[in-house]
Symmetry: C2
Subunit: 462 residues, 2 copies
């Protein structure tokens, strides 16, 4: 019989066994079996517990040896001293993939380090691959499977996550806007960031990967895999433990040795990883890469309803390596003809006087079409008002922005402001390809990072 590949055992298991779960189920018990049931997992679920007959309505086995179905994946969460023995039992039942959830190993004390080593030795004896310890394990919304004891929302999204902490599972919505498939490598005693990056890079459901790493081991393979995956889809990388104190803490958190941040930077640069400085940028870029067409160069057109906003954007462009597009000779003509004589039209293109003379739709439509059609423009950032239903009929620009963002293959980023923005933002997010951003500078950072990724990619594929 042909063996299923390792990736499938972890990400798409057909049968799982939980070894050590709470006796009770329901809210507050953090019972992972509840989570699988709530998600509608369709595979086989077995439970091993030495002292109970039934948990969450499922008959319980006394030990791993009683398992009488072939089992793709074991999820172990028992007192740490018992774990090496349980790994052995899993090996004896031909289980090839094991997740060890618990804390208390290399990240804690000397005994924990010893136990992690023992556990690994047992795994190697039987050819078991081991994810963890100190991990929430695997999350796969498409397969309706997750190994975590935390209650998580299931959301089929093209966002892949490779991380060293459960915070990216529990906080996926806050940090990344969601997660389709996630792997928490925890202490990365065996299965590591490189393995899992490769798995997600091959998964066609995934269109962008958010990477959180406290350490990068296996440097040359990392280089190779990240470059290979990066040519297909962007990897947005948050490397933590960069400060002195942070690096020290990383050692005790995941038991890892954080390398000098300058080395990491050099490595990242060669792989085309999109590196971010803080968590918020990671989420912003995930959204940007999923929604926007490629940003092929540094030249930004600004269509603004406020002169001050244009200036804020110029400051941000200089800071993040973008530049205001120098328009082709005729690009300003349309909006100039709609503006009062005294109004100079340039980039940033301030259309407010033209709006006052001609109405929002006419002025905005002209402006957006002309800048997007200009071959000297790589991307657009623009402004929209959100003022509530009555005013929106007169001052809304959603339709125009939606239409133009579909018509041209360039990224359009919108900042929505006003007394009632929610409806306008929702409309823009539902239709068209424009991306709404919570601040102007965040829009610029997204375009700048997308440009860097396009640059790297075009160099690699020449």
């Amino acid at each position: 019989m042909k063996q299923r590949p390792l990736k499938s055992l972890f990400l798409y298991p057909r049968s799982v066994v939980f070894i050590g779960v709470p006796r009770k189920s329901g809210p507050g018990t953090l019972n992972p079996v509840d989570n699988l049931r709530n998600w509608g997992y369709e595979g086989q679920v077995s439970i091993v517990h030495p002292h109970v007959k039934e948990i969450a309505g499922i008959p319980v086995l006394q030990s791993v040896s009683e398992l009488n179905v072939e089992t793709d994946l074991a999820i172990v969460s028992t007192p740490r001293e018992t774990v090496p023995g349980i790994i052995r039992e899993c090996g004896q039942r031909s289980i090839r993939a094991v997740i060890v959830t618990n804390q208390g190993f290399a990240e804690s004390d000397l005994r924990g380090k010893e136990l992690q080593r023992e556990m690994l030795l047992e795994a190697r004896k039987f050819g078991i691959r081991l994810l963890g310890p100190n991990t929430l394990g695997v999350y796969n919304a498409f397969h309706r499977f997750n190994s975590s004891f935390m209650p998580l929302v299931r959301q089929e999204s093209p966002i892949g996550v490779v991380c060293q902490s459960g915070v990216f599972f529990v906080g996926a919505i806050q940090l990344l806007g969601g997660m389709g498939i996630g792997i928490d490598v925890g202490n990365a005693s065996d299965v590591n960031i490189v393995d899992t990056l490769e798995w997600l890079g091959e998964d066609e459901r995934i269109r962008v990967i958010a990477l959180h790493a406290e350490e990068i081991n296996d440097g040359s393979r990392f280089l190779e895999v990240a470059a290979k995956v990066g040519r297909r889809i962007p990897i947005i990388a948050l490397k933590t433990g960069r400060s002195q104190e942070g690096a020290k803490a990383a050692t005790s958190h995941s038991g890892s040795l954080a390398a000098d941040d300058r080395i990491i930077s050099a490595v990242f640069h060669r792989t085309g990883l999109v590196r971010v400085q803080e968590t918020q940028d990671q989420g912003d870029l995930v959204r940007g890469f999923i929604r926007l067409p490629a940003m092929k160069g540094p030249r930004v057109a600004v269509v603004t309803l406020t002169g001050a906003g244009g200036i804020i954007l110029l400051d941000a462009m200089e800071r993040y390596g973008l530049q205001p597009a120098r328009f082709s000779p005729s690009t300003c003509d349309g909006v100039q003809s709609l503006s009062p004589d005294w109004m100079p039209i340039a980039n940033p293109m301030d259309i407010w006087p033209a709006v006052m003379k001609n109405g929002m739709r006419r002025a905005y439509g002209r402006a957006l079409r002309d800048v997007l059609a200009d071959p000297n423009v790589d991307g657009v950032i623009c402004f929209a008002l959100g003022l509530g239903e009555a005013e929106q009929q007169h001052l809304g620009a959603e339709e125009v922005i939606q239409q133009m963002s579909e018509e041209f293959d360039k990224p359009v980023v919108v900042w929505v402001y006003g007394s009632r923005t929610e409806e306008t933002i929702n409309t823009l997010e539902r239709h068209g390809r424009a991306l709404t951003v919570p601040s102007l500078e965040r829009g610029i950072r997204i375009l700048a990072a997308m440009m860097r990724y396009s640059n790297w990619k075009s160099l690699r594929t020449q």
Copy 2:
């Protein structure tokens, strides 16, 4: 008869005249008279328009000379060529405060520059003080008055705004979380940033000022006023036009000359202004200063549910000039005794294993009380889960955080994450003094800026 002070004429006018408003009223007409009516402005409103008898139900005067009530403030929005003449008419009717809303002056073309000069000469002849041109004017939620043609939300908040652009009026909610009193100085042809900073600095309803400046003229008076105001309340300053392109654009936007950014930096430093690099930080700091007690030093305690989150915070602290507190000897004892033996307790204080053993409330309460009571701690940043009603009973920490943030006079900042955070965030924002933040790094930037302000203030008052 004693004259009302200039500040009152602009911010608390008892009677206003609009010279030039749209003939129509209702949604989409941008008629400022509608806005005053919607807000319930209680002062006298007159309208001057040469061709219409009635606007928005108010009988209209043919010219300023027909005004038969004493008028605190005129709001002028007529074709630019007519403005100098109208200023003269206002002077002849003893009006001392005028707002000129229109664009088309020094920010546009040569003729515009000329007209701005003429307008100013007329004003000086009659002792008129002039706000604008190119401005939305004045917004005062407490007085139910605003001079703007844009539909704005009225919200009595302790946030004062001094700006050079209407975007801070229309986008006050997005940029700053609200606005109680705002003054847009526009081209600042006469009334300028320094004047208005002084007015808001004296207004007891205002507890924090957000300043947006494209230029700082009147340098030595600015130093003096900003330092005086800064001793009472924090001024959060966003200086734009810092880049080369941005500075050029500032000249054409408000007709101003932007000084070298290094000079601005030096000046800001001496005044104790809290300078921010981008719009988002300005809004964050406004929220922080309003809600939190003072951050008196750089020493931060972290109470975390995730090791990785603690490391992200350590990185951010180093970057922004804060440091992890070195706890007093006994501070870890409580949580250590609640944790498994193998779990080392330090700062960041990872309480997750203690939560698993003892429940959220017991572990979290112990941790927060102990770190807040530690004299080596200046502020706390912590984590809370938002998981929806059922799980929240077991894993919610809102009550504990609320209680401790009230009990101790130190800032407590919370990042909420999970599958359903909205309710948790609302609960925390409604009660207690803790501040919720959308990302960990933003929490650190808030504490860092608050510390710098405290430092400056304590030096000035010694």
